[in-house]
């Protein structure tokens, strides 16, 4: 297993390098001059020229890229051209929030999407199936921020059950724990009050973000279950009187989620993209809004770092997906 992971990780490296090259070139095509952003609102041309020299922005592209790579190798992504703060530190501070959000969304998406998919498949071509098909497509199609605002209006304003925005109530300070993940840290510090508060804050953003993924998961699960139901072993299991519930939810489902799990890798990418909007509306302090800010200010260092980060997460999720598949399917485990 360790060898398998090592192999996958090594295989990912060239892709990541390619990703960096592509992004670097792309960003350099943007005419927005980072030096202008660096110099600030009221700068003179001389100031801008000085900054350009100071940051090596007048050097040939290749030199700049080389210097950048050397930095990346040391996990130094340079300083943001917009804020002057080290990018690595900012990302380290924000990434846990985004991961917490996306994982929660994924959990909701899978937790609801899989059962819904199963129910639809079991009622193939009857009304629960039609309903689910329409709803799941609707889930993919709904504009996230419109949904977000509607949820805010209902649950935060009208009913007042959940907080409107943010990651934690103003009165509470994050425990500042070892992992950076708020939920985990509060648990590690035994601060159940913070944990509860953080969970309440997590609900609306995670639900909003999960909707698209939920629909996709439900859809793939439905297809998978329909497919599995045609298999001979299902007939056999029925013929020897497996109790129906157990058969569907354990024996059939496990065979059906293979396609769903492989989709989760692709889904994760779109979840992170969706996080941009969701984080903005719920003021979630993650990397989504950080990225938009970077794009609006043409902050090359941040864009590069985020691209690399997304690439790494994407690769990691794919490796995890493979591991999950290996756990589900013994034949994969044996390398067939």
């Amino acid at each position: 297993m360790a060898g398998f992971i090592a192999r996958r990780v090594l295989l990912v490296l060239p892709s990541l390098l390619g990703l960096l090259v592509v992004t670097f070139l792309l960003i350099r095509t943007v005419p927005a001059d980072p030096a202008v952003a660096l110099a600030g609102d009221n700068a003179t041309p001389e100031q801008i020229e000085a900054i350009r020299r100071q940051y090596g922005l007048d050097q040939p592209l290749l030199v700049q890229f080389g210097r950048y790579l050397a930095g990346v190798a040391r996990l130094d992504f340079g300083a943001s051209q917009f804020s002057g703060r080290p990018v690595a530190a900012d990302i380290a501070q924000r990434l846990p929030a985004t991961l917490e959000l996306t994982f929660a969304a994924l959990l909701i998406g899978a937790g609801l999407g899989i059962p819904l998919g199963v129910v639809a498949a079991m009622n193939h071509n009857r009304w629960p199936d039609f309903l689910l098909r329409i709803l799941s497509v609707g889930g993919i199609a709904i504009a996230a921020f419109w949904l977000a605002i509607m949820l805010q209006l209902l649950f935060a304003m009208q009913l007042g059950w959940l907080p409107l925005r943010g990651q934690l109530s103003v009165g509470l300070t994050p425990p500042g724990g070892p992992t950076g993940f708020l939920l985990l840290d509060s648990l590690l510090h035994g601060r159940l009050d913070i944990l509860g508060d953080a969970l309440r804050h997590l609900v609306l953003p995670a639900v909003t973000l999960s909707v698209g993924g939920l629909a996709t998961i439900a859809r793939f699960t439905r297809a998978g279950v329909l497919d599995t139901l045609q298999k001979d072993f299902v007939l056999y299991e029925r013929a020897v009187g497996f109790p129906r519930r157990r058969m569907v939810w354990i024996y059939v489902l496990r065979n059906s989620v293979v396609a769903t799990v492989s989709q989760i890798g692709l889904l994760f990418g779109s979840l992170i993209a969706g996080a941009v909007v969701v984080e903005a509306i719920y003021d979630w302090p993650g990397i989504g809004s950080y990225t938009v800010q970077a794009i609006l200010t043409a902050d090359a260092k941040v864009m590069l770092a985020v691209t690399l980060l997304v690439g790494v997460i994407y690769a990691a999720v794919n490796i995890l997906t493979d591991l999950a598949l290996a756990l589900i399917d013994p034949r994969i485990r044996e390398g067939r």
């Binding site: 943007v30 005419p31 927005a32 001059d33 202008v36 952003a37 660096l38 110099a39 600030g40 609102d41 009221n42 700068a43 003179t44 041309p45 001389e46 100031q47 801008i48 000085a50 900054i51 300083a79 943001s80 917009f82 804020s83 002057g84 703060r85 080290p86 530190a89 900012d90 501070q93 924000r94 921020f145 605002i149 805010q152 209006l153 935060a156 304003m157 007042g160 907080p163 409107l164 925005r165 943010g166 109530s169 103003v170 009165g171 300070t173 500042g176 903005a280 509306i281 719920y282 003021d283 302090p285 809004s289 950080y290 800010q293 794009i295 609006l296 200010t297 043409a298």
Partner: protein, 502 residues
């Protein structure tokens, strides 16, 4: 509403170093965490002694001496001395970032000195009228603290970007910062002004950026936000005013809304065309209907209420007949009305979009083809470095960086500033250049005002740009707050005066 904590939904600055940044979020932070030698207070703004008790200037305007208050202490308890002031100014000049622009050509670092512990002396390269007006820009930092955290000759830039070394009324709470998202501040008991004038000051401030207008408004309405930024969309005002927990503070600011034209490149080299455009914008419609009246028509570049603005200068009025007339003249000069004119908007700022669409709609009726290009600030600013790349037209505001006509007409229409976004009309008129040059070299306001007025009249006659309005800033405030004071410099972000119930 959280007891004892004021929640602000405006954005914290991108970093915490007041010598690196100079923008609205930074003002919102620095005016509370730091002090300057002087400070603008009230509306219209008055320059008041702050850390300095007063100053003297030599007759030629080159030598300035500031006398510091005694007994000022930084947040760490260290006394504030002239040494700190000297360090701060030299640091600003050495970093060369935004706040330095007002001083770069006129002040050398070695010419800021401290003859004694309470005196700071500046020797300028040449006389510079706006010097005093720019003094409040520079926040005074705790030189020992910053020096202790310098690394590789960075003047402590890395450290101060995430920490604080000020003496202001509120102190940054260490560890509470997430860039652009949140930061906490706690009241500094030992502030040099004392708190006797404020019976119930805000004990703690939590800045929690609300990125979406709707979230901010909802937060204000359900009491989880006490204070929004001051750019509330006018369409939201009514609803907030009707609420039991919040209200809107409306203050005339000094922030002019301008539609720029690239005077250096066809077709806007034609004065007639520029005039045709200026007559085609529906100023009243925009201000009354879209902004619901929350703005004042400002016919020239300088905010109406500031000295140097010619009170009697006639502006351009919405008059499509006149516009057609000038358009014909322009056509006679060779303007082809089928030519597409591109106006760049900042897609993040809905008002620039609305103005452009309104304009487009009117221009269409007189036969001018306006195309709207969505763009970002970073790009536009880069593009304005040269007249060839600078857009035909674009829309923006000019805020109060320092309270002086120089901030508007001086830096916008003197050809020496070509290449900066503020001068992106690439307007060139030797007479105006000369007038502005002279005004800059004088110290006394009475002498400078007529020069700026004359320059402004000329710029307006040349119809360099389309000047639309002067902003009324709209800030959502929880009703539990009182004592809000607005000043156009800093946009009312100073919180020392606020009183909070509960």
């Amino acid at each position: 509403a959280t007891p004892g904590v004021l929640v602000r939904s405006d954005s914290p600055p991108a970093n915490l170093d007041p010598h690196q940044l100079f923008d609205v979020p930074m003002m919102g932070y620095a005016l509370n965490a730091y002090d300057g030698l002087y400070r603008y207070e009230n509306n219209p703004p008055e320059l008041q002694p702050w850390l300095a008790e007063g100053h003297t200037a030599s007759a030629d305007g080159l030598e300035w001496e500031f006398r510091l208050r005694p007994e000022v202490r930084f947040h760490d308890g260290a006394p504030l001395t002239a040494e700190d002031v000297v360090y701060s100014f030299r640091r600003v000049l050495a970093l060369g970032k935004a706040p330095a622009s007002a001083f770069l050509g006129i002040l050398k670092p070695e010419n800021v000195t401290a003859p004694d512990a309470r005196t700071v002396r500046f020797r300028l390269e040449r006389a510079y009228g706006p010097f005093l007006a720019a003094i409040p820009i520079v926040a005074i930092v705790n030189s020992r603290l910053v020096r202790a955290n310098e690394k590789d000759g960075d003047h402590g830039a890395a450290w101060l970007a995430g920490n604080e070394a000020g003496s202001g009324a509120y102190a940054f709470v260490p560890g509470s910062l997430t860039t652009l998202e949140r930061l906490d501040m706690a009241r500094f008991e030992g502030h040099f002004l004392g708190w006797s004038d404020n019976p119930s000051p805000v004990p703690r401030i939590a800045v929690r950026a609300a990125k979406e207008t709707s979230t901010g408004v909802l937060g204000l309405l359900n009491g989880s936000i006490d204070w929004t930024d001051s750019y509330l969309p006018t369409d939201q005002v009514e609803q907030i005013q009707g609420s039991r927990v919040a209200q809107v503070a409306k203050d005339v600011s000094m922030r002019t809304f301008i539609i720029r034209m690239n005077n250096a490149r066809a077709p806007f080299t034609s004065l007639n065309l520029r005039k045709a455009m200026a007559h085609a914008f529906n100023y009243d419609g925009f201000i009354q209907e879209i902004l619901k009246g929350y703005a004042d028509r400002n016919a020239g570049p300088i905010p109406n209420q500031l000295w140097g603005a010619p009170k009697d200068a006639p502006g351009y009025a919405y008059d499509l007949d006149k516009a057609r007339h000038f358009l014909k003249l322009a056509q006679a000069e060779g303007f082809n009305p089928r030519q597409q004119i591109r106006i760049h908007i900042q897609s993040q700022l809905e008002q620039t979009n609305q103005a452009a669409q309104l304009f487009q709609s009117d221009l269409q009726s007189i036969g001018v083809n306006l195309r709207i290009v969505a763009d970002t600030w970073a790009n536009i600013v880069s593009a304005t470095a040269k007249p060839e790349t600078s857009p035909d037209m674009w829309i923006h505001w000019v805020s109060t960086y320092f309270v002086d006509p120089e901030n508007w007409v001086g830096q916008m229409y003197d050809s020496r500033f070509h290449g900066t976004w503020k001068a992106s009309s690439f307007y060139r008129n030797e007479k105006v250049d000369a007038l502005l040059q002279r005004a800059r070299g004088l110290v006394a306001q009475a002498e400078r005002a007529p020069l700026y007025e004359e320059a402004t009249r000329q710029v307006m006659a040349d119809c360099a740009d389309i000047w639309v309005y002067n902003t009324v800033e709209l800030r959502g405030l929880a009703r539990r707050l009182s004592g809000y004071r607005f000043c156009p410099a800093g946009g009312g972000a100073e919180m020392r005066w606020l009183q909070m119930k509960g």
